[in-house]
């Protein structure tokens, strides 16, 4: 890595920003964590999160490296459809709103999405679900860690390994101290930082290079980007939507939030979070369309957003981009760490290995698993294996198979565990076959279609009448 002068920030400034933000978040996490007495406090923030924090956390967690790096990337590759299509991912949050309300009603004492699958569908489905969850959570964790390293290197020339290590230490640090409470509170502040930063960048861009000139340059030299009938973009559209739906519907990141929100807040919070999120990819995406005019042709498409912003705003822009992307990464990384460690603690440790564990014991184990996950993620991030996009598309085959089993499981008594397990397993396998045989743009679509077909069959053939009361599992050990 040569320390060329082409970087927007000096490595020392980059490192200073990381250290300042890191210390601030960790202190804040420690401050919030003082109130945590029980495992329930730590894992679910006392199940009493109000509307404001709930909406902000729903929005901020969904604003990830995807929105700040991949939305410009897709716009650069697929033009108008790239950004509009990406903003449809808000549908995931909006459609989860009724589900969240239902989850809260059916499982007032539940902890994780794994709890639901185990109680509703039994062991076989639980195993399929845990494999899917772990593959997805890990893929996402690693891609976020790598994105942190790549971002720092692209903007300041700081070595990839330093940046990646720094962001992991920071997020593990404050999640460890503060639990979900810290995650949600930092999400609120991170949400504000992200939105203000994104608006600033877009505003300056429009001010410097007008919308007219961006449009005419793209129209003359890159006409395909404005084509509303762009074949590849039309093909990917629903695949992306199903990928997003699968991510939200199955992941404990969203389930633990639904369970942590106060009474009837869940529905409103997810709905508002989704609506607030909807315009953001268009604002971050359109930035990429200014690239050709500014003479920016990035080495890889996922770097186009930060590069344009840094070019237009100079050093200030680079600092703003740095803070925005760093916040976006942190707001997802912390949520994922918290939710995955809950899954490990609750579903694997408590329910499979140590049913007699005391509450104090669980709290301690939860902290260890956050630390363990952090170390494991760090190890996987070391070699910088794949690009972000490649890693994420693969996961589409896994998560999209859970959409119908989760929805029907929450609302329909008839679907039995066997069919749910089959739907998730076969859906995932067919999605993977589609991914390798046809292309990455059908992975989620094939997976969801197959799983939906099996669920349909299950509804016709199975005769069970599930008793909803079974979902409200009473805790003996946590009392």
């Amino acid at each position: 890595m040569t320390e060329a002068s082409g970087f927007a920030l000096s490595s020392s400034l980059g490192l200073t920003l990381v250290v300042i933000f890191g210390l601030a978040w960790i202190l804040f996490g420690w401050y919030l964590g003082r109130a945590n007495k029980t495992h329930e406090d730590f894992a679910l923030a006392g199940r009493n999160v109000g509307f404001a924090l709930a909406s902000a956390t729903a929005m901020a967690t969904w604003v990830t490296s995807n929105t700040t790096l991949v939305a410009p990337q897709l716009t650069y590759q697929f033009g108008i459809w790239g950004m509009v299509g990406y903003s449809f991912a808000a549908l995931g949050l909006i459609l989860f709103a009724p589900l969240a309300a239902r989850i809260k009603r059916l499982m007032p004492n539940g902890y994780t999405s794994g709890d639901f699958i185990r109680l509703r569908y039994g062991q076989a489905a639980w195993w399929a679900f845990i494999v899917i969850s772990v593959v997805y959570a890990f893929g996402w964790l690693v891609s976020l860690g790598m994105a942190g390293g790549i971002l720092l290197e692209a903007l300041s020339g700081l070595d990839y390994h330093i940046g990646m290590t720094a962001i992991l230490i920071i997020c593990v640090g404050y999640t460890l101290f503060g639990g979900l409470r810290a995650v949600i509170a930092t999400d609120f502040i991170q949400a504000l930082i992200i939105i203000v930063g994104v608006v600033l960048i877009a505003w300056f861009l429009i001010d410097t290079v007008s919308l007219e000139s961006i449009h005419s340059e793209v129209q003359t030299n890159h006409p395909q980007l404005l084509d509303l009938l762009f074949p590849a973009a039309i093909m990917f559209l629903f695949n992306n939507i199903f990928f997003g739906l699968g991510e939200i519907f199955h992941s404990n990141v969203w389930w633990s939030r639904a369970l942590a929100f106060k009474g009837n807040v869940a529905f409103k919070a997810y709905l508002l979070g989704g609506i607030l999120w909807l315009p953001i990819p268009i604002v971050t995406g359109f930035i990429a369309l200014a690239a050709p005019q500014l003479g920016i042709f990035p080495p890889s498409a996922d770097m186009v957003g930060p590069m344009v912003a840094a070019e237009v705003l100079g050093k200030v822009g680079a600092v703003v981009v740095f803070i925005v992307v760093f916040s976006a990464l942190a707001s997802s990384l912390d949520s994922l760490l918290a939710a995955t460690s809950d899954l490990v603690t609750r579903d694997i440790y408590h329910k499979k290995l140590k049913p007699q564990a005391t509450d104090k014991h669980l709290l301690r184990f939860n902290r260890y698993s956050i630390l363990g996950l952090g170390v494991l993620t760090w190890l996987f991030c070391l070699p910088q294996i794949a690009t972000l996009g490649a890693l994420l598309n693969f996961a589409g085959a896994f998560v999209a198979s859970t959409i119908f089993p989760v929805v029907l499981g929450l609302y329909q008594r008839r679907l039995s565990g066997g069919y749910a397990a089959l739907a998730m397993t076969l859906g995932t396998l067919c999605g993977l076959v589609g991914y390798f045989v046809i292309g990455f743009y059908v992975a989620a679509l094939v997976s969801c279609s197959v799983s939906a077909a099996i669920c349909g069959l299950g509804l016709l053939l199975s005769k069970q009448q599930f008793d909803w009361q079974q979902l409200d599992e009473q805790e003996e050990s946590s009392l």
Partner: protein, 40 residues
Amino acid sequence: MMMGLTAFSALVIICLLLTACAPVILIGLWLKDFLSKQLW
């Protein structure tokens, strides 16, 4: 050509304005929760 430009500009400007409203909404809600002690 002109239609395309108008639609493009409208889309970007509207989304920018909507995004700019979000912090106001979030801070407003936070204040409301904070004052009524409903934050957590």
